[in-house]
């Protein structure tokens, strides 16, 4: 199916551009800028974490331990004990594998969002990632709304087809048509 067929309207389709309530192009550009910001934030944090050796078995185990240590003892004081048990039983015993997985996946999310490549898949991944962080940090000293802001940004990029403007996805969609179930670009 061509990206420009009536069933899959493209950004240039005047019918789609005439969507009510908003200047469609302004919305698309705004969401793309949101996507780029999100990509920069994820990559900058990824780089910081890399420097701090958090993407190692010991680094990840240490982080999980710090998260659920009470504030009075120098930890974050997160309170979701169910999530703590899940991390302790699943992630901590396999921390080395999870750390490498996180190193690769987080980097790919960031890169995908920054350049707008496979944006829909990257934004789904980012939503899962930020949900996990929300649960991990919940109840602690950190400002929990940070993860709400990031989750909502990822959701908006997904719903708004954030890679179709100022992104690689635009060229991929034009060349290859829609991705399966529109889940990638």
């Amino acid at each position: 199916m061509s990206a420009n067929s009536p069933a899959t309207p493209s950004a240039q389709d005047p019918d789609v551009a005439a969507a009510p309530f908003m200047p469609a192009r302004t919305g698309s550009i705004a969401i793309s800028l949101l996507r780029i910001t999100l990509g920069v934030i994820i990559l900058a944090t990824w780089w910081d974490n890399l420097q701090d050796e958090l993407y190692t078995g010991d680094g990840l185990s240490g982080l999980i331990d710090w998260l659920f240590t009470p504030s009075a003892e120098g930890g974050n004081g997160s309170t979701l004990s169910l999530y703590e048990r899940l991390l302790d039983t699943v992630v901590v015993p396999n921390a080395g594998v999870f750390a490498i997985g996180q190193l690769i996946i987080e980097g790919l999310f960031g890169l995908g969002l920054l350049v707008g490549a496979s944006t829909r898949a990257a934004s789904i991944g980012a939503m899962v990632f930020f949900s996990s962080l929300f649960l991990a940090y919940y109840g602690g000293d950190e400002w929990i709304w940070t993860y709400v802001l990031l989750f909502v940004a990822s959701l908006t990029v997904f719903l708004g087809w954030g890679g179709r403007t100022l992104g690689v996805d635009r060229f991929v969609a034009n060349a290859r048509g829609e991705s399966p179930r529109s889940l990638f670009w």
Partner: protein, 175 residues
């Protein structure tokens, strides 16, 4: 099934298309409106005390102790802290206005502009405070820029209805 033109238009705006629809931004607008209103709970008048949480007074002290820019820290110390009650009321009122504006989609561009200023102020004031993550304020400011640019109150908001009535007045700039 045959819907009226108004419903067809509305359904069309909800359909997934490769062009961004304002409703996805409107969801974020509502969530961030709740964020501002929720944040009022630790700066409630008349004493602006945070209860079990860190209070506004304590946050200002942290801004003085860990300034991102020295002149900003001095400004907080010499102007804001000595006139705490005045500035606390001002901040409370501004955050309340932004929260209500974004939640209801009422004069959203005005609320977004004010929210952008508040986000920048938070970012500048807190970026150097230990334990703070400055990117959170970058994202918060970015969101308000998006709301302003798109006039995000026109979907799921009062601005959508209001705009026709204020079209010939200066108030239209705020919707």
């Amino acid at each position: 099934m045959n819907f009226g033109p108004k419903i067809q238009t509305r359904l069309r705006s909800l359909a997934p298309t490769p062009v961004a629809s304002l409703w996805s931004i409107a969801i974020a607008r509502i969530v961030i409106g709740v964020l501002w209103l929720f944040s009022l709970r630790w700066k409630l008048p008349p004493d602006f005390d945070g209860g079990s949480e860190r209070s506004l007074r304590q946050w200002l002290q942290l801004e003085v102790e860990h300034p991102t820019f020295a002149p900003y820290g001095r400004f907080v110390e010499t102007v804001i802290q000595p006139n705490f009650t005045l500035f606390a009321w001002l901040l409370f009122f501004c955050e309340l206005v932004v929260g209500i504006s974004l939640l209801l989609g009422l004069f959203t561009r005005g609320g977004a502009l004010l929210g952008f200023g508040l986000s920048l102020n938070l970012g500048i004031g807190l970026a150097n405070v230990p334990g703070e993550w400055p990117w959170a304020y970058v994202m918060l400011a970015m969101w308000h820029g998006v709301f302003f640019a798109t006039g995000a109150g026109r979907a799921f908001g009062i601005d959508g209805r209001l705009r026709g009535n204020v079209l010939n007045t200066p108030l239209r700039l705020l919707t």
